[in-house]
């Protein structure tokens, strides 16, 4: 591995400080803001993990709810038999395994198949889970009783988000990250310079899937009662896509820019106009396509480039 440059060390240090500050929140508030922050942290982890794969490949993955639900179910099924940290590790393995299977079936062909396949994946897994449960167990729901409180869940999510960021950062400066950059720009070129495109994509999708499954496992104690329709809620997949694209996927911190305002917006909308959430989501998708195709970070970068160009022109005029 190449040694870190000074610039990279600065970013790492700044990131560490930000996460440390975020971790202090439960000491200040234990009520509304903590519960809102749990949602924000959750979606921050999910969106960054999603962008890890979908950012460079431009493949819109709708499998988030499937991984998330599997993670939740792992905890629900195993909580009486195994220690919680072990369950988190198992959830990661299951998420990676499912991502590997889906990737092996679809990522060798074109991107459209992948989108369509993931479109129904959560519903498929939900049907299979419900069927096995009615066939082999008596009840459909599962109870999860732990001694974990809201703040513990919050801390775990902060740690997970930090881990996702660190992983994404390390991938970006590795051979895999370089390969993904080339694949994202032109897949034919990537194949011609000897990159195993399918393998790189599958590996990346597995990493992303594992993180999302862990997020689901962390959230399981918060639900305390788990049943298939709530664990495999397809809305999670769509919200993650919107928030990540709203922020922009070109930068590591891009999704975060979308997560914070949109989580707060959805919180307000579902509390005040529960019948209109669909319409808001539809409008958000349309806004992303027509108004901000590169996300908010894209807009910021455009503005910065324009400002720099103007500054350069001013400098020239002064010199002349």
């Amino acid at each position: 591995m190449t040694p870190f440059t000074n610039d990279e060390l600065k970013w790492l240090g700044a990131g560490a400080i930000l996460f440390a500050v975020a971790a202090l929140l439960p000491l200040v508030d234990q009520g509304f803001y903590l519960s809102l922050s749990v949602n924000i942290m959750l979606y921050a982890a999910l969106c960054t993990a999603w962008a890890l794969f979908s950012g460079p490949t431009h493949y819109v993955s709708l499998a988030t709810a499937a991984f998330y639900g599997l993670g939740t179910y792992t905890v629900g099924l195993g909580i009486d038999a195994m220690p919680y940290p072990l369950l988190l590790a198992i959830a990661a393995l299951i998420g990676a395994a499912l991502a590997g299977l889906v990737g092996a079936a679809t990522l060798r062909i074109s991107g459209v198949y992948f989108v369509i396949f993931t479109f129904g994946l959560a519903e498929l897994v939900r049907q299979l889970v419900t069927w096995t449960q009615t066939k082999f167990a008596t009840a459909i729901g599962l109870y999860v009783f732990t001694d974990l409180f809201e703040q513990h869940i919050y801390w775990m999510l902060v740690a997970l988000t930090a881990a996702v960021f660190l992983t994404a950062f390390l991938i970006n400066r590795s051979r895999l990250g370089f390969a993904m950059q080339i694949i994202g720009n032109d897949e034919t070129v990537a194949r011609h310079v000897g990159i195993d495109t399918a393998r790189s994509k599958i590996v990346l999708f597995m990493i992303s899937g594992a993180f999302i499954a862990v997020a689901g496992a962390i959230m399981a104690p918060r639900y305390s009662y788990i049943e298939p329709p709530s664990a495999f809620n397809p809305m999670i997949s769509f919200l993650v896509v919107i928030m990540a694209l709203l922020g922009g996927t070109k930068r590591l911190w891009g999704p975060l820019v979308g997560v914070i305002p949109f989580t707060i917006l959805m919180d307000q909308v579902s509390a005040r106009f529960p019948n209109h959430t669909m319409i808001v989501i539809g409008l958000a998708f349309l806004a992303i396509v027509y108004l901000i195709p590169n996300g908010v970070t894209g807009l910021l970068e455009q503005a910065r480039a324009r400002w720099k160009a103007r500054a350069a022109r001013m400098g020239q005029e002064k010199a002349a």
């Binding site: 819109v60 062909i109 369509i116 397809p234 769509f238 019948n275 959430t277 319409i279 539809g282 195709p293």
Partner: protein, 288 residues
């Protein structure tokens, strides 16, 4: 035998929906994920015409199909054509159209939920017995199948026996070359998209005669139609009809022999087989 015939009857309406989608994706190059919402809207209009004005759903098709054609034409011209013009390559258009039609999906679904509520609806139309080979089936299902077959036949005639239809097939094969032989690609694509919407709406109106529907079921139908389109090969009429038959029969098999809750799993099993062995579709040739 009973299962086989039920499956075939079901596949007639699936075929119409999938034909609509395959026109939209194959010719107009728009992967329309809001297709299922067109279907649900048609269900509600058929319901409203039948309960409100006592208009027979088959006669209602004469109103619903042109209506859906116009609405889809407007959607294409206003919302989707700018994306086609903006896109630098096929991949860009695919991502944009997927996201835009997601937007349409949620917007339409949200509007329908606000307008009609979330509950299931149905009406009784021709709920009489009809005997085939000693087993009885609902007459409404048979009428729907015959109507679907007639519409699919008309579509085949249009595509293979008229100039307009031939132009449409040419655009499906290669838009750039079609342009060279003096085909107005933009106009043909717009008409294909609108026609696809009209076909889907016909499928919806027919389905409403024998199926309970609600405002949020569109996604499931989009899903099935997508899988049929891929199984049959994008833009391939024969393939789509054969794939619809396979899907309808295997779904009925799984639902009656194993568990009705596993129909999507059956669909997916087929999907995976196709992806692994014939990703270019049943009749498709491997890209050279």
């Amino acid at each position: 035998m009973n299962i086989l015939i039920t499956g075939i009857l079901l596949s007639g309406t699936y075929a119409l929906i999938a034909l609509g989608l395959t026109l939209q994706y194959g010719v107009a190059r728009i992967m329309n994920l809001g297709n299922g919402e067109t279907l649900v809207a048609a269900c509600f209009v058929a319901f409203w015409l039948y309960t409100g004005f006592a208009i027979n759903p088959l006669v209602g098709l004469l109103l619903i199909a042109p209506g859906a054609f116009l609405i889809n034409l407007v959607i294409y011209l206003v919302a989707l054509q700018p994306l086609v013009k903006r896109a630098k390559n096929r991949g860009q258009l695919e991502v944009d159209s997927i996201l835009a039609t997601f937007g349409l999906l949620f917007l339409l679904q949200g509007l329908m939920i606000v307008a009609f509520g979330g509950e299931y609806r149905s009406y009784t139309f021709l709920a009489e017995r009809f005997d085939i080979l000693g087993n009885s089936y609902g007459l409404n299902r048979i009428v729907a199948f015959v109507a679907a077959a007639a519409i699919a036949g008309a579509l085949w005639f249009f595509l293979y026996r008229t100039r307009q239809g031939t132009a449409m097939r040419a655009v499906a094969v290669d838009p750039n070359s079609a342009n060279l032989v003096a085909i107005d690609v933009a106009r043909t694509a717009a008409i294909a998209f609108a026609l696809g919407g009209a076909l889907t709406a016909c499928g919806g109106a027919l389905i409403s005669t024998f199926y309970t529907f609600n405002a949020s079921m569109g996604v499931i139908f989009t899903m099935k139609a997508l899988i049929i389109v891929i199984m049959g090969g994008v833009g391939d009429i024969r393939g789509a009809i054969l794939a619809a038959l396979i899907l309808g029969i295997s779904e009925t098999l799984v639902a009656s022999l194993i568990d009705p809750g596993l129909t999507l799993a059956a669909t997916y099993a087929l999907f995976i087989l196709v992806l692994l062995f014939r990703p270019q579709g049943i009749f498709g040739r491997a890209p050279t």
